[in-house]
């Protein structure tokens, strides 16, 4: 099934008609909700007085933790994150009071008139300090195979080091926003820009002290999510719900960009210590890794992210003996959270840095060292957690990409360029991605759908997934249309709504289409099972001769046809009218849970993933040795999406993920002051890639002819894996600056201009020392 139809919302996007939460019109003008937040990273609240703030005409509510009717708790996994601070604040930007007023100006005025007395407490605002202070957020995790420590001692070559990877701001274009509209009695309708409507619903009910059947959360679309709205959209939703409940009026909270950046969590910074043993051919023999994550002030999803990091430290490589230890540390910073890749980028970055160093130590081409270490049948196929990596997909992709990108010739050309230039260097890197698809918290791998067929032959599909730009609704619509044999025009995908599908999982882990697509298919299968016998009976009443059997009915080209007697055909519209008259129910729920997966988090063994998505990239860069600036010259990507559900959508995911990853690897740097205040709180200082930063020569191809029988319509998930292909940018820069230098520079993520220039200087000094010695 190759689908070239536009994005489901493309028309609405380009005309400006697409409705986001801030655009929703409700009866009555909503009050403006505003958050008064902590200026301190860590402090005790000695006393406060909000009477003056409440007295301002036009200010309808000023709420503190004491005004929460239900539970003051937003922790999604561990209950360690309050909705409003009481007694103590644990990060700059932590919400303390909520204000509802007629205008934003009035909200700000009220905020100024809140009197609050803080007693500042010692604050821990970076990872090294948290580690030094022993501030673990939970028990360390461990995954091992063999005896890495012993094998390291026996290995002919070893290397060791430390890698820092930085935080990353999601920078969804639409900031966090929610609009709560009170209804009759306890009823509350919440329009939220959330990736997890069911959790938002549950937490709103909990903080209000009402039940989930009182709360409806509806999500038409998100102006970007990337994981940043998986748990942290719950906060504005709960805040607006509290204010709506207190004022009995609709209340909207939309975070101003700087507030959004200051208050919400980021991709976890990691400090990773590694030691690797390898042979003279560059094959890894043993690796030990310590992963240290900066969790921020609360647990949030930190441990699930850590687990995914630990499950992806192998990336595409078989490592006979390996030991991986992971810790999450508490800091007085906003709780770090999900972000595309979910620990995968940090885990893969360390392994790619190890391979890169092995290659440099042995003076081998890094791509060749990668190939030698790939998972390969028959005996190098099992991961450190015991799951088998299917086939020789990596070798196949490597051979194709090396050929299609002209890797060999370009390696020579780069070398030639570098010998002729004094102040410029080019670099080339090939990096693979093997990314496990499934939530590692196994029960989350479930989804629901509700498919409604109306008697006019149109279809409305409800499912639990959220459209955040990734094209989920486009894919779901295609799946539903294909399963029903209908043109797309007859099928519409509804806004995601918790009163249609209950108890859903977040749209996350790249699983949206896999899980919800299967649930939709199941719902349609149920409809077909009901309609089939009734249609067979209808045909048998009309036609003489051999009976039509339900199993012979085909749903194709907008009709239902008996494949054994093709003249027995009825257009879908007439068929549905007939079914309605015959009292056949034309709506059905579908449910899907991923079979055959599961793993033991304690032993670190099992099959956490249904399958792997694979990708590979070759990137060439040029670096200005005088300014540390770099330009991506060309990127070639070969990606395995199984049978693509939609090539236009999938290509967009690959390109967009790669560029977002390139930002993490290069220009996106989160900086805070010594008091834990975010310094890069606006786009004037936090720089995501812009159009001029992308490779002018950008070639993306799908690995064709590799259907994936394990997912809906033989497809593969595509949301996250391409992000990590951007490690090729990072290592191409390193390749460029290390071109003729002996030694290993300090080369963290992000490799900003300053990092690059420092590395160039460090290498220059190392080379000079080398020459003296």
């Amino acid at each position: 099934m190759v689908d070239h139809t536009p994005h489901d919302s493309a028309w609405a996007h380009v005309t400006g008609e697409a409705v986001y939460v801030d655009d929703i019109a409700v009866a009555g003008v909503p009050l403006v909700g505003y958050v008064f937040s902590s200026p301190h990273a860590h402090a005790r609240i000695r006393s406060f007085d909000v009477r003056d703030a409440r007295s301002i005409p036009g200010v309808y509510a000023v709420l503190g933790s004491q005004d929460i009717p239900g539970e003051n708790q937003l922790g999604p996994v561990v209950k360690d994150e309050v909705c409003l601070a009481s007694g103590e604040v644990e990060c700059v930007g932590q919400a303390i009071f909520l204000i509802a007023a007629e205008t934003e100006d009035l909200c700000r005025e009220a905020a100024k008139r809140i009197i609050i007395d803080f007693e500042p407490l010692p604050a821990v605002v970076d990872l090294p300090a948290a580690m030094a202070g022993g501030m673990l957020l939970g028990a360390p995790r461990k995954i091992e195979r063999g005896n890495a420590a012993a094998e390291l001692l026996r290995a002919p070559h070893t290397l060791q080091g430390e890698l820092h990877t930085g935080a990353q701001e999601h920078w969804y274009l639409e900031t966090q926003v929610a609009l709560s509209v009170p209804g009759e009695g306890e009823e509350l309708l919440v329009y939220s820009s959330t990736q997890h409507p069911s959790e938002t619903q549950a937490l709103v009910a909990d903080v209000l002290g009402i039940h989930r059947n009182d709360v409806v959360v509806e999500v038409r679309r998100l102006g970007g999510g990337f994981g940043g709205k998986e748990t942290q959209a719950n906060h504005p939703a709960c805040w607006s719900a509290l204010l709506a409940r207190a004022t009995r009026r609709p209340v909207k909270i939309r975070l101003f960009r700087d507030d959004d950046m200051s208050m919400t969590g980021k991709r976890h910074p990691y400090l990773i210590r590694y030691e690797a043993g390898f042979d003279a051919e560059g094959r890894l023999l043993a690796v030990t890794l310590e992963l240290h994550a900066d969790g921020g002030m609360a647990t949030d999803l930190s441990f699930a992210i850590l687990e995914r990091a630990m499950l992806h430290v192998d990336n595409a490589y078989f490592i006979p003996d390996i030991s991986v230890v992971g810790c999450v540390w508490k800091t007085h910073l906003p709780s770090n959270t999900a972000f595309r890749g979910f620990g995968g980028p940090q885990g893969m970055a360390v392994m790619e840095t190890i391979i890169d160093r092995v290659a440099r130590a042995l003076r081998l081409d890094a791509a060749e060292v990668r190939r030698r270490n790939f998972y390969a049948s028959p005996d190098r196929v099992t991961t450190h957690y015991g799951q088998v990596v299917e086939g020789d997909r990596l070798q196949t992709m490597f051979a194709r990409l090396v050929a299609s990108s002209g890797y060999g010739e370009r390696r020579s050309a780069v070398r030639e360029f570098n010998t002729t230039q004094e102040f410029r260097r080019r670099g080339l890197a090939l990096t693979p991605v093997k990314f496990g698809i499934s939530f590692t918290t196994t029960f989350l791998n479930q989804a629901g759908a509700l498919v409604l067929i109306y008697a006019d032959g149109t279809v409305l599909v409800n499912h639990g997934g959220v459209e955040m730009g990734q094209g989920l609704h486009t894919k779901i619509r295609s799946i539903a249309a294909a399963e029903l044999g209908l043109p797309l025009a007859r099928v519409r995908v509804n806004a995601t709504n918790t009163s249609k599908i209950p108890n859903t999982s977040a749209t996350a882990a790249s699983s949206g289409a896999d899980l919800n697509g299967m649930a939709v298919k199941r719902a349609i299968d149920t409809l077909k099972e009901r309609i089939g016998p009734a249609m067979a009976q209808l045909f048998n009443e009309r036609y003489e001769g051999e009976l039509t059997r339900a199993e012979d009915l085909r749903w194709v080209r907008g009709a239902i046809i008996d494949s054994e007697h093709p003249e027995r055909m009825m257009p879908f519209v007439q068929a549905m009218q007939a079914m309605h008259l015959r009292q056949i129910p034309l709506s059905a729920a579908g449910f899907f849970s991923t079979p055959g997966i599961g793993w033991d988090k304690v032993s670190g063994k099992g099959r956490p993933f249904l399958y792997y998505a694979f990708g590979m990239a070759v990137t060439e860069v040029e670096v200005d040795l005088l300014t540390g600036g770099h330009t991506i010259l060309r990127t070639d990507i070969l990606h395995d999406v199984g049978d693509s559900l939609h090539e236009g959508i999938d290509r967009g995911q690959i390109e967009g993920g790669f560029i977002q990853g390139a930002g993490w690897c290069t220009t996106e740097e989160i900086l805070r002051d010594e008091n834990g205040r975010l310094l890069t709180h606006a786009p004037d200082t936090y720089k995501i890639p812009t159009a001029g930063d992308i490779p002018p020569d950008f070639r993306v191809t799908f690995l064709d002819g590799v259907p994936n029988p394990l997912a809906v319509r033989n497809s593969k998930a595509v949301g996250e894996p391409p992000f990590m292909l951007a490690l090729s940018v990072w290592l191409a820069i390193k390749d460029a600056i290390c071109a003729d230098a002996g030694g290993e520079p300090h080369f963290p993520i992000p490799a900003t201009r300053e990092v690059i220039l420092n590395a160039i200087e460090e290498l220059r000094q190392l080379t000079a020392e080398h020459a003296r010695a």
């Binding site: 960009r257 700087d258 600036g629 606006a682």
Partner: protein, 493 residues
């Protein structure tokens, strides 16, 4: 003086009255105003500081030649009264009367140029402005047109292809068909001065320099602005209330450009984009620097006078104006005086402009062919970023290969844009060789005590400043007697 702002929206003349106690205010932004209307919620706020472009709209004005000129601007940086006399076009206006998508919209659909869609209205408007100006833009021109539009989803390739694919879409659209009527409608709007007061805040837009000087005399503390791309941030980001604004953008005389054999002259209200267009044909070092000045949406509003007036320590035009020996024209009630740009810059965001004076123009002398000038900007990101360090170098090398006159001007290295005078003196009379440059680099470190901030550490700034001098030498040595051309590459650093 009148107090009603007139502009064209949805093809109709709109008379917008401001009342002292009501909404909107004089510092309400065009973005806020548009979003308060039922039919223009496609205009999005992404950052309220001109750094994302989600709020991009297009302004059309008479081009002086009977037609209309279309410019993409960030509506978040535009105070509402500044739309007086202009047509505002938003994404909602692009479909033709029968509802068909505009060519740039269709191309965005066809190329999968939207994912989450939140940046899309802004992107569409940038592409629309591009295609109203160029019928078949090249890739660099498309990239330049959308460099001010952040997209977090697509990775831009599809958007660039949409921009390339919409060939000819601007020529025959409904705006083309309606241009004559709009042109006349806009010309019917009086160009007299405006004076508006709301909520204790005053906005005046004089129509002549004399009126402006009068206003300045009456209100010496008023903020004088022209494009407001800097001042607007005080309102949108810091929520300051600015008691009084004098907006010079309505003074036709300040929008003049003159070119003589000796110099280029730009009126203070000439936009950075207009300066850049002129500079491309005669002042390459300046053109190269302006190509990485903000984004097109900002360059279309920001003015040369405004950039000089803010006197930012990293103001992108300033180092190159210093190197080019530019003079600033100041007009006061006592007459006109001209100051070299260096003398104009007296400190951190301070200038020599007196409270009874206005910056009325910038004069840039033509550079003799035996002098080389190049400008460099080093920033975290190439486009739409503030310099960490900027530099402009000017050197004349004698026939015998020695330096005869060097100017090394740096931004981002001190409280104001400053020359490295000692190093300049050191270079004087020395051979323009690597050895000399190496020594000069060592000396440069002693001349500055740069700050450490989010854009870079002091040591990084110092290293970059040194290296830029070497880069300049490497790119121009041997170019004695030739006029070097600042390539875009050189400017990116």
């Amino acid at each position: 003086m009148q107090s009603t702002v007139l502009f064209v929206l949805d093809g109709q003349l709109v008379r917008l009255g401001f009342s002292p106690g009501g909404y909107p205010h004089v510092t309400t932004t065009l973005l806020q105003y548009l979003r308060s209307l039922p039919g223009h919620r496609g205009v999005k706020e992404g950052c309220a500081e001109g750094d994302c472009g989600a709020c991009t709209v297009v302004l059309a004005e008479p081009d002086g030649d009977g037609g209309l000129r279309y410019r993409a601007v960030d509506s978040c940086l535009f105070f509402l009264p500044m739309i007086h006399g202009k047509q505002v076009i938003t994404v909602e206006n692009l479909r033709d009367p029968s509802g068909n998508l505009h060519g740039v919209q269709q191309a965005m659909v066809d190329e999968f140029g939207s994912q989450c869609g939140f940046c899309t209205p802004g992107v569409v408007m940038s592409l629309f402005a591009l295609h109203k100006t160029l019928s078949a833009p090249k890739r660099e021109q498309v990239v330049d047109a959308i460099a001010g539009n952040l997209c977090r989803c697509t990775g831009y390739r599809s958007i660039i292809d949409a921009g390339l694919g919409a060939v000819g879409s601007g020529a025959g659209d409904q705006f083309h068909a309606d241009a004559g009527r709009i042109h006349d409608l806009l010309l019917s709007i009086p160009r007299d001065g405006l004076m508006i007061e709301t909520g204790g805040r005053r906005y005046s837009r004089p129509s002549t320099i004399e009126e402006a000087l009068d206003a300045r005399r009456r209100e010496p503390d008023a903020v004088v602005l022209c494009g407001a791309t800097d001042t607007a941030l005080r309102v949108t980001k810091n929520h300051e209330e600015i008691p009084s604004i004098i907006d010079l953008s309505g003074i036709a005389a300040l929008r003049a450009q003159r070119r003589t054999d000796a110099a280029f002259f730009f009126g203070a209200a000439v936009t950075i984009q207009e300066v850049m267009d002129t500079a491309e044909k005669g002042i390459p070092s300046l053109a190269g620097m302006l190509a990485v000045f903000g984004s097109r949406q900002i360059r279309n509003i920001a003015t040369i006078g405004g950039n000089v007036g803010t006197a930012s320590p990293i103001g992108d035009t300033l180092p190159v104006l210093v190197a080019l020996g530019a003079e600033i024209e100041l007009t006061g009630s006592h007459g006109v005086r001209r100051l070299p740009v260096e003398e104009m810059l007296t400190g951190y965001r301070r200038t020599a402009c007196r409270s009874d004076e206005l910056i009325t123009g910038v004069s840039i002398p033509r550079i003799p062919s035996d002098i080389t000038v190049r400008a460099y900007k080093v920033s975290r990101r190439a486009d739409l970023d503030i310099s960490t360090v900027s530099a402009a170098f000017r050197v004349r090398v004698d026939g015998d290969g020695t330096v005869d006159g060097a100017i090394l001007a740096f931004g981002g290295m001190a409280e104001k844009v400053r020359r490295a005078r000692s190093t300049e003196e050191f270079l004087q009379g020395r051979p323009w060789t690597r050895e000399t440059v190496d020594k000069a680099m060592a000396g440069l470190s002693d001349e500055f005590r740069p700050l450490c901030d989010v854009r870079g550490s002091a040591s990084f700034r110092a290293a970059v400043a040194r290296n830029l001098l070497l880069k300049f030498w490497a790119e121009t040595a041997g170019a004695n007697g030739q006029r070097a051309v600042a390539s875009a590459e050189g400017v990116h650093g």
